[in-house]
Amino acid sequence: MQDTEIVELYWQRSERAIAETSAKYAGYCTAIARNLLQSSEDAQECVNDTYLGAWNAMPNERPALLRAFLGKITRNLALTRFDYNHAQKRSANLTVLLSELEDCLSSSIRPDGACEAPETAFDKNEVLRALNAFLAGLAPLERRAFVRRYWYADPLHEVAAHLGMSESKAKSMMLRTRKKLRAHLEQEEILV
């Protein structure tokens, strides 16, 4: 079924919309949630909540890109669940992701050598505008790699497979891209 037809089912408040969404995008959403949470059970809950989220969001919204729309809902739910679960169980992959993203923010070095992000006020819209501008300026391959790693939360070896390169080379590319992002955020005066 075409995405426009599925969206139309949501607008008609037909519960078949859920079944069609599940049939077409369960795998996509599950992969995102599982990458972030590393728990099939938690991922399945997020995916089920995604359908509910989509049901509640439409008909107020008519997404042009249904897949990305659903993926965003799943990702937000997974991050929320991560926060909820954080005290009990930690997703190793997400913890590594957060650690890597410190590179984009750090302006000070702790005594143990790790970077520390300063707690500063920021304008979310400004940061989002800067992030989109940063992505627009990247080479397509580098941009896809960055999005696969930090949006889809793909493990590094999966990113490397997507790029057709070794994991160590992909790791180097990720490091360079994070440094570029930090420079960009500094240039935009989002980081001081």
Partner: protein
């Protein structure tokens, strides 16, 4: 701003970048070279002194009883953007296990059927098309009808795709599908698992598994309404839907979903009404099963 806040904000980037990355495909799968595997296998066979006759038997020769196994060597993973599908000879095939990789070293593939050249899954096209492994070579699996399954070699890895719809997206003809699969002759046992396939609930004997297959050849496609879809979703939510797995002699399996309370079973991409010939003798297998509802938010 903290890294967690940045990670959250990245979630709201332009959807076009998310779509762009979703369509990125793996370019290379690192795998032990197949020729080395064959050489190693040959050395092992020589070392244990197998004769040519016994080798013939191992590979399924006329007098051999051992069926070549096709073990899965790497799990697949869900692909952002949908299932992994290919179209061949007017029908649609889905890759087993979301693109799981299989070892065909015991059953060499020799009859190439063509190359998957189009990045599309349009069954109406005469050309071979696929949403996965584009550029891979399509093979007939020795001893298996291409109306049931085909194999794909892509960048040194091997995959299996199984028919899920007939021409023009029509439901599979159950009798023809089971016959093409020689399911009754090849099934070794059946397994009942929870809907998610995470928990084995019951194992069914070879005799009952063969009887199930025989009775299911009579089933006809259901004409589902919105109410039916809701009912099916309801059984899944309540843990009253199960996976029914027919394990074949080569170690692979044909997997269906079965909602006993509705008398509906999925085969390929379609739902079917289960005949009384199935429900009467075999329905009891499902009567006392634990209900394992999927986790709900």
């Amino acid at each position: 701003m903290t890294s967690k806040e940045l990670l959250h904000l990245l979630g709201d980037i332009d959807s076009a970048y998310i779509e762009e990355a979703a369509d990125a495909k793996k370019r290379k799968i690192l795998r032990f070279p197949r020729i080395a595997q064959i050489a190693m296998a040959a050395c092992l066979l020589l070392a244990v002194g197998l004769s040519a006759a016994s080798l013939s038997g191992l590979l399924g020769g006329a007098h051999g009883k051992t069926v070549p196994q096709i073990p899965s060597v790497a799990a697949g993973s869900p692909t952002p953007g949908g299932r992994k599908i290919l179209c061949y000879d007017g029908a649609r095939y889905a890759f087993l296990g979301d693109g799981a990789q299989y070892d065909f070293s015991a059953l060499p593939l020799t009859n190439a059927l063509g190359t998957l050249t189009q990045d599309s899954a349009d069954a109406s096209s005469d050309a071979l098309s696929a949403s996965f492994a584009v550029g891979g070579t399509l093979y007939e699996i020795p001893g298996t009808s291409t109306q049931f399954r085909v194999a794909v070699e892509f960048e040194g890895a091997y995959y299996i795709a199984e028919a899920v719809t007939g021409a023009d997206g029509a439901p599979l003809d159950a009798a023809a599908f089971f016959e093409s699969a020689n399911l009754q002759g090849r099934v070794q046992k059946a397994e009942i698992l929870d809907h998610m396939g995470l928990q084995m609930l019951r194992e069914i004997s070879t005799a009952d598994a063969k009887g199930m297959v025989q009775s299911l050849t009579e089933m006809q496609p259901s004409r589902l309404t919105d109410t039916d879809y809701e009912a099916i979703a309801g059984t899944q939510a309540q843990g009253a839907s199960y996976q029914l797995r027919f394990v074949l002699d080569d170690g692979t399996s044909v997997d269906c979903y079965f909602a006993p309370s509705l008398g509906k079973l999925s085969l390929g991409d379609s739902w079917y009404d289960v005949p009384a010939a199935f429900a009467a003798p075999y329905g009891a297998h499902f009567d006392t099963l634990a209900r394992v509802p999927p986790p709900m938010g």
